[in-house]
């Protein structure tokens, strides 16, 4: 038996608009810009819906109905759900239908897709709880697996997840941690007993997520036969292949005209065409086998960039100042007991905000620049700090 655990991350941030210094204390509408603004949440969400969410969900649902053994796991952020409910509610209905078949698992994470774990444990726990409750309410299932924002993982997070009743946790299967070991097994996190660790097979995942349409890649074009052959070869070591990627890989990162949808459609059928192959959900993957070994990651590892760290979110002085200012306000924000202030503050914790302040590769105009809605990391920081100032103003007003 060989199994693929296909896990797709579904997320859109709620971006702040170009909130000017002159808006402070005059308007507290941070998130609703004009439809045609470059940061317009509605425009971006509708665009990605047409390019990715709708066609890919249709493809997955079709395969769920067609193959008994096709399964998929999703993590869906609260900020995505809020926007889908507002603008494209049928997406949620589709996922509800899929979940009802029992072949779609939903994975827990922070509601706001935040880095709260690294700043404030209470806030982190409250966001995870909020996510859990929202998923229960919308999809009528109770998530048992946890993934942190950007797959940011370390040993103490695993311990936390175990103590909070999760039976599995996801992380990047990074060579520096695994060494000669293969990610195609189930592992036991350091100092844990019950919880299982699933590691992303980053080579096979990134062949689809990053390299699929790269004409400079010597393996281009990637055919189903070739890819399936690679998986067969990789399964010499372990028979669980964890393909973890952004949902938007399909249609947004890799556009329709690259053939990504047809590739996936054919691959699912082709893989299941061999009697020993199947797809499993993340929960099923955890139960496939006993852990082969303990894996320890004392340092935080993510699935981002070649460094696999948090440097794209938290390295320059703007990012650090923005996050420190933000989390320093938490107690004051909560003590206002003003739902609107609290919600506005919480939405600022979304990790995409510090990501859009990343200057690491900014001058190269690369992936960071492409996926940022703002004109520059400096402007993003500027608007963020203006919002922070207005929140401070509102806190002071509420104390009067």
């Amino acid at each position: 038996m060989r199994a693929i655990c296909l896990y797709l991350h579904i997320h859109q941030p709620i971006r702040y608009k170009e909130y000017s210094f002159f808006d402070i204390s005059n308007s507290s509408d941070y998130y609703n810009g004009e439809y045609n603004d470059r940061e317009s949440n509605e425009r971006i969400f509708r665009k990605v819906t047409e390019k990715s969410y709708r066609p890919m969900l249709a493809l997955l649902e079709k395969n769920i109905n067609k193959h008994t053994d096709f399964k998929v796991s999703f993590s869906i952020t609260g900020t995505w759900l809020e926007q889908a409910a507002k603008w494209e509610p049928d997406l949620i209905e589709t996922i509800q239908r899929m979940v009802k078949t029992g072949k779609v698992e939903i994975i827990d994470e922070t509601y706001y897709h935040s880095l709260a774990y690294f700043y404030n444990l209470e806030e982190f726990e409250s966001q995870v709880k909020k996510h859990h409750e929202v998923i229960e309410k919308i999809f009528d299932i109770s998530p048992k697996i946890f993934r942190n924002t950007e797959l940011a993982y370390n040993d103490s997070l695993a311990k936390w997840a175990e103590e909070n009743g999760y039976k599995g946790i996801l992380a990047e299967g990074w060579d520096k941690v695994l060494g000669w070991r293969s990610p195609n097994y189930v592992y036991r996190p350091f100092n844990c007993s019950k919880i299982r660790l699933l590691l992303k097979n980053y080579r096979l995942s990134d062949d689809i997520a990053f390299r699929f349409s790269n004409r400079g890649w010597k393996e281009w074009p990637l055919t189903v036969e070739k890819y399936q052959n690679w998986i067969n070869l990789d399964c010499i070591h372990g028979n669980l292949v964890n393909l973890f990627m952004d949902f938007e890989t399909f249609g947004e990162h890799q556009w329709k005209d690259t053939g990504i949808f047809d590739f996936m459609d054919q691959f699912i059928s082709s893989w299941l065409g061999e009697y020993e192959n199947k797809f499993v959900t993340a929960s099923e993957a955890c139960e496939l086998m006993e852990p082969v070994d303990e894996a320890s990651m004392p340092e935080t590892i993510t699935w981002a960039d070649t460094e696999r760290d948090l440097s794209a979110w938290l390295s320059n002085s703007m990012q650090i100042a923005a996050m420190e200012e933000l989390y320093a306000l938490r107690e004051q924000v909560l003590s206002t007991q003003d739902k609107k202030i609290i919600s506005d503050w919480e939405h600022l914790t979304t990790s995409d905000h510090p990501y859009s302040m990343c200057t690491k590769y900014w001058h190269d105009g690369d992936v960071h620049a492409y996926f940022s809605a703002y004109a520059s990391p400096y402007e993003s920081f500027m608007y963020f700090m203006n919002v922070i100032r207005d929140i401070k103003y509102r806190i002071a007003e509420s104390e009067k």
Partner: protein
């Protein structure tokens, strides 16, 4: 490539340092030097007679006996005023207008061409285009028109002096190829003069090589007033340039007033002079921020570098700026940059805040953000260091040589 080494270039320019009034002379000198370093043989014709140190790599000719002070006649940069205004020549025996200086310049170029056979004529800006056209028409020498600015830029994107427009148009039409200092300028040439885009190459400028020499030292003690204000928490915002409509300084003044209304600890230095000076002084008073604004008058050399050094933030507010060398100079002196999107330099600089020249609120917002958030200032200053020198004069020379070669090859066919 071997053939390139033998290439003989006739450069037509209007000024060279130290007798320059702006970036044009600096760009010409650096470009000529870099070309010479790559083996080009350069003759450079100027409209005036003066000594130019550090030009031993080329041959500099004086087309007239004029003192450099009078090379612009009525003043080329205040181009609306160019008429037949008369200026005295060096020996005071005759008086000349800029048009007459240009006529003498053309005569000299013709005389030169009777005895010399350059491979290429490279003419810098409208002042020399007529002479370039003569070389092309009468002597069949391929003409490169180098556009550092058009009359539309100088007139703040409105119509300028019709005579200059005509000269510019003829030069651009007659040129075998055109070099524009930015995509912005390329677009202006295309849209305003209807020159096909494929005839225009973009070659950006770079920082003056003089800045590589470690001869400059900033002495803080000279500027005790500004320093004491900075110690009190003031942020110093500077702008440098000719005070003409092109530079968009009224918008900067309005933004300054907006910013001061939110943060009074801002000091604005307007360094330069020009036809808009009195208007700007009055505007600063009308807006009630006279106390926050310092006018330095015309400055150059060390004084100019001192202003860059004093400033925390440098603003280029130009309505239209073909390139904008001052931004690179400010970056060299560790300033955070705010640039209009209408400036050529903003095409190659990423580590800067940008805005549209009319958007005074956004400019005020950006000034306030830099003044209010140390990390923003730090990151802007830190990251620009790795950026402002990414284009070298040698790369520029290489690109020019490639363009020369292209033109030469076409001529053979």
């Amino acid at each position: 490539m071997l053939k390139l080494k033998m290439m003989k270039i006739l450069m037509l320019g209007w000024e060279l340092p130290p007798h320059n009034s702006g970036g044009l002379g600096v760009a010409c000198l650096n470009m000529a030097r870099a070309l010479a370093n790559r083996g080009a043989n350069i003759d450079f014709i100027l409209p005036y007679s003066a000594k130019h140190p550090h030009t031993e790599f080329m041959h500099v000719y004086a087309a007239t006996k004029l003192d450099p002070l009078y090379r612009y006649g009525g003043g080329a940069y205040e181009s609306l005023k160019i008429t037949e205004e008369l200026v005295p020549t060096l020996d005071q025996k005759a008086v000349l207008s800029i048009r007459e200086i240009q006529k003498e310049y053309c005569d000299f170029v013709e005389k030169y061409l009777m005895t010399h056979q350059p491979d290429i004529v490279h003419a810098h800006d409208w002042l020399t285009y007529e002479a370039g056209v003569i070389a092309k028409k009468e002597y069949g020498i391929p003409l490169i028109a180098h556009v550092h600015a058009t009359e539309f830029d100088r007139a703040g994107m409105r119509n300028g002096n019709p005579l200059i427009h005509e000269i510019e148009y003829e030069g651009l039409m007659m040129a075998d190829r055109i070099i524009a200092v930015s995509e912005t300028t390329k677009r202006v040439i295309h849209e305003k003069y209807h020159i096909p885009l494929q005839k225009i190459d973009v070659v950006y400028n770079s920082l003056d090589q003089e800045y590589d020499k470690n001869t400059y030292h900033f002495e803080e003690s000279t500027y005790r007033y500004v320093k004491s204000m900075q110690e009190k928490g003031y942020t110093v915002v500077a702008t440098v340039g000719r005070f003409t409509i092109q530079k968009g300084l009224s918008n900067l003044m309005r933004a300054a007033a907006l910013a001061v209304s939110k943060n009074p600890k801002l000091l604005f230095i307007f360094a330069g002079d020009g036809e808009e000076r009195n208007k700007l002084i009055k505007l600063s008073a009308d807006l009630g921020i006279a106390e926050n604004v310092i006018f330095t008058g015309f400055i150059r050399g060390k004084n100019l570098r001192d202003i860059y050094s004093l400033a925390d933030v440098f603003v280029m507010s130009s309505v239209s700026e073909p390139f904008g060398l001052t931004a690179l100079e400010a970056a060299h002196h560790n300033d955070a940059l705010i640039l209009t999107k209408q400036s050529g330099v903003s095409e190659i600089i990423w580590s800067a805040l940008k805005y549209d020249f009319w958007d005074t609120e956004k400019l005020a917002n950006e000034i306030l953000a830099i003044a209010g958030d140390e990390p923003l200032k730090t990151e802007l200053k830190e990251n620009i260091k790795n950026e402002y020198r990414k284009i070298s004069w040698d790369q520029i020379a290489k690109k020019c040589l490639r363009i020369y070669n292209k033109v030469k090859q076409k001529e053979v066919i």
